[in-house]
């Protein structure tokens, strides 16, 4: 199981993947926005997207859980 966490305070701009999707290492899961910059959140493992912990419009803090890949 791989947990993917936010690297910085940001707004969740776009959800790209859906729970249950098969994802590959390097795929974009979510796009965050901070300080007028888009920051893609990338799958760090290949597997099934077991959980997506954020929704569009959420604010995430540094270290907050974004997704879980199994």
């Amino acid at each position: 199981m791989t947990e993917i966490r936010a690297e910085m305070v940001a707004n969740v701009w776009k959800i790209v993947a859906a729970e249950g999707d098969s994802v590959a290492d390097g795929d974009t899961l979510v796009i965050l926005e901070s300080m007028k910059m888009e920051i893609p959140v990338i799958a760090e493992a290949t597997g099934r997207l077991a959980r997506l912990a954020v929704s569009e419009g959420d604010v995430v803090q540094e270290g907050d859980l974004i997704a879980v890949i199994e």
């Binding site: 910085m8 305070v9 707004n11 300080m35 910059m37």
Partner: protein, 446 residues
């Protein structure tokens, strides 16, 4: 002179405009979002009005809320700063229609220059050199590919209504043009509400050099010198200097004359900037775009000319003569500006957070325009600019030495900033030599 001015902006530029207004005896009215309530520009204003929540669309871009704040406080003029509504012709018209003084150029000049393609065509007809490219916006990939064949690869892909480097990329072949075009179109739609794309010839090694112009109340347009803004990351400026180490006297004269013609072609009033690229291979320049507002890096021009550009904006908007002799502008010494951002100094990723300590450098030739102080929180809602560190010296070597010392003594704690990057930039052989181009940062941080 208006009795009061509402500053429709935030952070360092709101404070910078307020400083001059206050000195001129003009009452300062700030507007702010919920995210910015604790910032210095709010506390220092004579009056401050909350205009909405953190999202810029509901606060700093909310024309109705800003005009309502102006009416409520009896503001006589509006200064838009840069970004947000500064280059919004419809907002400028609303300000004028409400009977207020708009501290900026005429709305039709904003409109003409706001679209990269119409601006480019207008400049070409005024005899100003432009890069090879399409005279019409492209709407689909096939059109883009056809234009690229005509110009020859590599090409630049730009949002026609855009700015700030958003959506911009370079393509060396049709495949990269396809993907770059899609990205540019999506971003252009999202950030500028206009999907038009411009394809232009890519200049392999270029310097980004811009000319400060000032349209006077009597209709004359003058140029106050150039700024070199080649030190960029993601097509966004990190450091600027004047004079440009890559521009000789002859090229400077020609660029200043072209910038004056550009201003005259649109009936320009107030402070504006004509951005150009200088091709290092040919030594020639081409027009990029005109920014119809005060520029972030305006202080370097102020440092070498001794002219307060915000003061001139207020005077011109009031129909008054400027405070200096337009025929006798002298530029003395060398000035550098470093943009201090809340971002990591290696990958340049945003790092919002809380500032626990803030100690600004001082000394001869050192100026700091800051938007934050100790105890403030930097939120993810706006751009990462914390402060501008500006230094002046008798020559470039002294300016560099003063900049190195000032960067070393600028102490910000609790928050990650790009100050260590600036130390590396100032110490790099390439930047120090003055012989650099727009890829200098990419070479320093491969």
């Amino acid at each position: 002179m208006p009795e009061s001015v509402l500053i429709a902006n935030r952070g360092e530029i709101a404070r910078r405009v307020a400083r001059t207004a206050r000195r001129m005896g003009v009452r300062v009215i700030a507007v702010y979002s919920e995210a910015d309530a604790d910032l210095p520009f709010v506390a220092e204003a004579d009056e401050a009005v909350l205009i909405g929540p953190a999202q810029a669309a509901l606060s700093y871009l909310n024309a109705e809320a800003i005009l309502a704040a102006a009416a409520r406080t009896g503001a006589e003029a509006i200064h838009p700063g840069y970004g947000f509504l500064a280059e919004n012709a419809a907002f400028a018209s609303k300000v004028i229609d409400a009977g207020l003084t708009w501290i900026g150029p005429p709305p039709d000049a904003i409109d003409l220059m706001g679209h990269k393609i119409s601006a480019r065509n207008l400049m070409a007809s005024a005899g100003i050199p432009v890069a090879d490219g399409g005279a019409e916006p492209v709407h689909d990939v096939d059109q883009a590919l056809a234009v690229a064949v005509g110009i020859g690869y590599p090409v630049m892909i730009k949002a026609a209504a855009g700015g700030g480097g958003i959506g911009m990329s370079m393509a060396t072949d049709p495949e990269r043009l396809r993907s770059g075009f899609e990205t540019a179109r999506t971003r252009a739609e999202r950030f500028f509400g206009n999907p038009s794309i411009l394809i232009e010839r890519y200049i392999a090694s270029a310097r980004h050099v811009e000319v400060q112009i000032l349209g006077l109340a009597d209709g004359r347009v003058i140029a106050l010198g150039e700024r070199d803004c080649s030190a960029q990351r993601r097509h966004q400026k990190l450091a600027e200097e004047t004079p440009s180490p890559g521009v000789g006297d002859d090229l400077r004269e020609r660029m200043m004359a072209a910038a004056v013609r550009a201003g005259e072609a649109v009936g320009y009033r107030g402070a504006g900037t004509v951005e150009c690229l200088v091709d290092r291979q040919t030594g020639e320049f081409v027009f990029l775009e005109m920014n119809t507002r005060l520029q972030v890096e305006h202080p370097v021009t102020e440092m070498v000319t001794g002219i307060d550009l915000v003061e001139q904006q207020l005077l011109v908007a009031d129909g008054a003569p400027v405070s200096f002799d337009p025929g006798a502008v002298r530029r003395t010494g060398h000035a550098l500006e470093l943009r201090v951002y809340a971002e990591d100094p290696v990958r340049f990723l945003p790092r919002p957070g809380s500032i626990t300590g803030w100690l600004e450098p001082s000394g001869p030739g050192v100026r700091v325009d800051a938007g934050y102080a100790a105890g403030n929180t930097v939120t993810p809602h706006y751009d990462p600019l914390l402060a501008k560190l500006v230094v002046h010296g008798e020559d470039r070597a002294q300016a560099l030495a003063r900049a190195r010392e000032a960067v070393g003594s600028f102490a910000v704690t609790g928050l990650t900033t790009n100050l260590p990057f600036h130390a590396d930039l100032l110490n790099s052989a390439e930047f120090a030599s003055g012989d650099y181009d727009t890829s200098v940062v990419a070479r320093l941080r491969p």
